[in-house]
Subunit: 556 residues, 2 copies
């Protein structure tokens, strides 16, 4: 029996690299006061105590920032796992222990529910040491419950008091961090002396802005996916008989797909934001793919690779309309009729209930996909777009289009396919050195913010394309990233989700090469994440971040 794998044993000895200021002592430097991203008036009204706070960064200070007494803090993992979560927790633990040996760290179990239902553990040195530089969120588990209601906060206060917890660190994405700010505000309004600090987590890479260079986990997840895409491309080129349609995880934004495309140089890459900007319909996408496949076939190349972002369907208006219409019918009094229709009649039955365009679209879909739309529902009865096998959907539609083109005389050849979905394979990988360093530093930074009495902040580490020494730890007020958005009929504060900027340097670089990559075989094979060896395989950040931020990197 193996208690832990040889790699895990070795990785537990890795010391993450941290910004200079965190190494001995630090000074908290306050910058200019901030304003919300948009809708400042409304945000200020909702967050009177946490609005307008100054930017923070840490500089080297002379003294070791020891406290007279220990502090207790709590930590919550929220949402889907991302590599590096354990390192944030490890950073928190080492940070508070450095401040005072008697400090304690409590972990609330299985996400926000743990706080509300008072399920927690004390995270001891033994637990921390077992999880240093490991992937996953299994140390305390994660969950998707939204922490946003006063009753939840009140339940939280009970246990926080009982454990004498001074601050809660919430590790999550945009929504979890918005809620972190709501909790910070609520505590201040109630006169509770409990701070709340957020940390930017999500493999999707969509929690990023002028203050946050990257959400953690993006680096590792894209490296794992790129390893596999590279391997699939080698296979493709070795056998020359399949088109591989590869769907990549990523709820809305296409950052993951773009980064993997930059790393692997596949023949076809769909970027949802690009498709939206061009106002393409689903047929345009299908034509785009079919044309590349036909051009390659004309050169005798009946193989290739195509990357498809998981969220693409939401960017295609006709598909959106179809989903809305299905949802509307399902929630209507007649909606339950669908249940009574025999499986094999379902698609036809539903088609009759839809507008002409949607009806046509539904019937044009591969049968299995159409059925998925009608059968998989979320707890609210809505169609689960994320459950749709988008990669198979496009294989079906492209195959149909190629058959038309065959008749038109614009395609001849074979279209043999394999589909893949890369998602769960990357969310819990061992964090790359980038994520291990970044996350551990985020944890240590959060402690510095807490020690300074700050609340309603997100911990940040910037300058991450440079050696750790030159990285800058700090904090950004959560309200600074907010604006108001209509959701479910209500105007609510949200933290901006960053989509792929089609005018940005990373996309521009891709755009410049996509045609060449489409027709030639420029496949790149990144290989697995390295933890040992030369810097260029161990410590390099993503190409996205290098193109966007590092002016010293030049690419042709």
């Amino acid at each position: 029996m193996f208690e832990v794998s040889p790699l895990q044993k070795l990785r537990s000895q890795y010391s993450p690299k941290i910004p200079k200021a965190l190494r001995c002592g630090w000074k908290v430097i306050k910058g200019a006061n901030t304003q919300a991203e948009r809708d400042g008036g409304q945000i200020k009204e909702m967050f009177p105590h946490t609005y307008g706070l100054p930017m923070i960064h840490l500089e080297e200070g002379e003294m070791v920032n020891a406290l007279k007494d220990g502090i207790n803090i709590g930590v919550i993992l929220s949402g889907g796992p991302a590599p590096g979560g354990h390192n944030v927790i490890t950073g928190l633990f080492d940070g508070i222990k450095q401040l005072h040996e008697s400090s304690k760290l409590f972990g609330f179990l299985m996400g926000p529910d743990g706080l509300v239902n008072h399920n927690y553990i004390e995270i001891t040195k033994e637990i921390v040491d077992k999880h240093r530089n490991t992937g996953g969120f299994d140390m305390i588990g994660s969950g998707r419950t939204k922490l946003e209601k006063p009753e939840q906060f009140d339940r939280g206060i009970e246990i926080l008091h009982k454990l004498n917890i001074r601050a809660v660190v919430i590790i999550g994405g945009d929504d979890s961090n918005t809620n972190a700010c709501m909790m910070a505000e609520y505590f201040l309004q109630k006169g509770e002396n409990i701070q709340v600090i957020g940390c930017p987590k999500t493999i999707d890479g969509d929690l990023k802005n002028e203050d946050i260079e990257c959400s953690f986990g993006f680096d590792t997840a894209t490296k794992v996916y790129s390893e596999l895409i590279g391997n699939i491309q080698r296979d493709c080129l070795s056998s020359k008989k399949n088109w591989h349609f590869i769907k990549l995880m990523g709820r809305t934004a296409s950052h993951i797909t773009l980064e993997c495309a930059l790393k692997c140089q596949p023949n076809i890459t769909l970027i949802s934001e690009n498709i939206q900007a061009k106002d393409w319909r689903i047929n345009d996408v299908v034509n785009y793919m079919a044309n590349i496949i036909a051009q390659r076939a004309a050169e005798g190349k009946m193989y290739g690779t195509a990357l498809i972002p998981e969220g693409i369907l939401e960017f295609l208006p006709s598909f959106r309309v179809l989903i809305d219409e299905i949802n509307e019918y399902l929630s209507s009094p007649q909606g339950s009729h669908l249940e009574m229709v025999m499986k094999r009649e379902k698609v036809r039955f539903m088609s009759i209930q839809l507008s002409e365009d949607s009806s046509k679209l539904l019937q044009s879909l591969p049968y299995e996909v159409a059925l998925q739309l009608l059968e998989d529902r979320d707890p609210h009865g809505n169609v689960m777009v994320s459950k749709v096998d988008t990669e198979k959907l496009f294989v079906g539609l492209v195959a149909k289009r190629l058959e038309e083109m065959r008749i038109e005389g614009t395609f001849s050849g074979k279209f043999s396919t394999q589909t893949h979905f890369l998602g769960y394979e990357g969310r819990c990988a061992f964090p790359s050195n980038y994520d291990a360093d970044y996350c551990y530093s985020l944890g240590r930074t959060a402690v510095a913010l807490i020690a300074d009495g700050l609340t309603g902040y997100m911990a940040t580490v910037r300058n991450t394309t440079h050696p750790a020494d030159e990285c800058i730890a700090g904090g950004v007020p959560l309200t600074k990233m907010m604006y108001m958005e209509r959701r479910g009929g209500q105007l609510v504060p949200v933290i901006k989700k960053s989509l792929v900027n089609v005018d940005g340097k990373a996309f521009e670089y891709f755009e410049r090469h996509r045609e060449k990559w489409a027709l030639e075989d420029c496949y790149n094979y990144p290989g697995p994440i390295a933890f040992y060896g030369p810097r260029q395989i161990c410590d390099e950040p993503t190409l996205t971040i290098r193109l966007e931020l590092d002016s010293t990197t030049s690419f042709e």
Copy 2:
């Protein structure tokens, strides 16, 4: 634009470790004459010139084995790619160049077709250097054409003469190596002075016997799959809400699945050979899985991981009967009727044509799977069992069984699932150090056998659980591994495919722990293949081979 990835650049500088005898000069030591595995009389009759040859091993010799003149050799990649193929070729190249600078290596393109159709390239130093220690078969491509007919051999002879090729090296699995021996025999019968040497390739790990410790690619592929299974297990334990059913590539034998189970310690592992030995029906398998899921659910664990070998359906007799009956109907005069039946009626239509048991089985299958059986056919019109989504098949059957158990009161809880198929992700990965060393050594060994004038041999490297220094290069007569088997109504010579030995040490170790792994969460997280770093992550062979061969390794 990136010409090659940073890892590829670095890997090109790696010098594979080789057996002592290959480093300077060697002596070819001939052992005892050999006999066929079985049916010696018939094999001898078919292979009069290549039967009974002696075992070969290489010892250190005093002189450098230089030749007066260069030799030209040809190489063919046959079948599915496996990590390390390029290293065999690199070893061949370096080997013949060491013998004489004017030696030439020719690669026949896209598999055996390249020899028959005279498509080839000269493999130059530039090409070799670009592919050192890379994955894939893309240097010259691979193909599945069987090289077994005299006309093909004759076509081969033409081009081999033209290029003045003295020996052909065939890199392939059991069938390709059987055919290699047929070609060797044919050449001798025709008085052609062209040698044929085989190399044991297949990620499936089923080309192994007392003389061959492992087929190449098995080490790397199982390491890639185990990395991903480990990541999925972390995810599973972080979110605690899904059962992950993971299908693993491997045509017939379950070696890959067993090795991944040893490395990752998942909750459920199906080993086809074990199921066959117990004479289980498909219902027994479903019950076995459902019972573990129900037991875990009773402990509040609504999650887990299950490994399913791709080839399992062929080991289940009722499924075999179903497939045979479908094939029989399809090839009958009425068979074409199925084509005319509407998609949604197909399963019902076909059920009527089958025996009662098969009809029941077909109708019990998830609809999509039943349809796959009826719609995907190989060029001979047969059902393509390998195209069946076995992982979804078991999800469907297990879900149905759990619903019955819910009514019986023996299951309560959720059964939420995710399915995965790991295959193409691992066949073309950068070879691990084990495969890089092993394959390069095989290439160098093949050259030594060729230089000695041998033909009808497979190159071997043994003692691979020890440092390279202690490895033993040699050759085993291909006929030694053969016996007669009835295929397609004819008695033909075949090389024995090695299945998982359910009485062997590797399976025995698994069997001893499977119950504990089923109920507890003993997940192991191997992480990615390492090329740099301590020996325990860079150079360790598979657990299968260590358990089977290395008496110094002791596991609890």
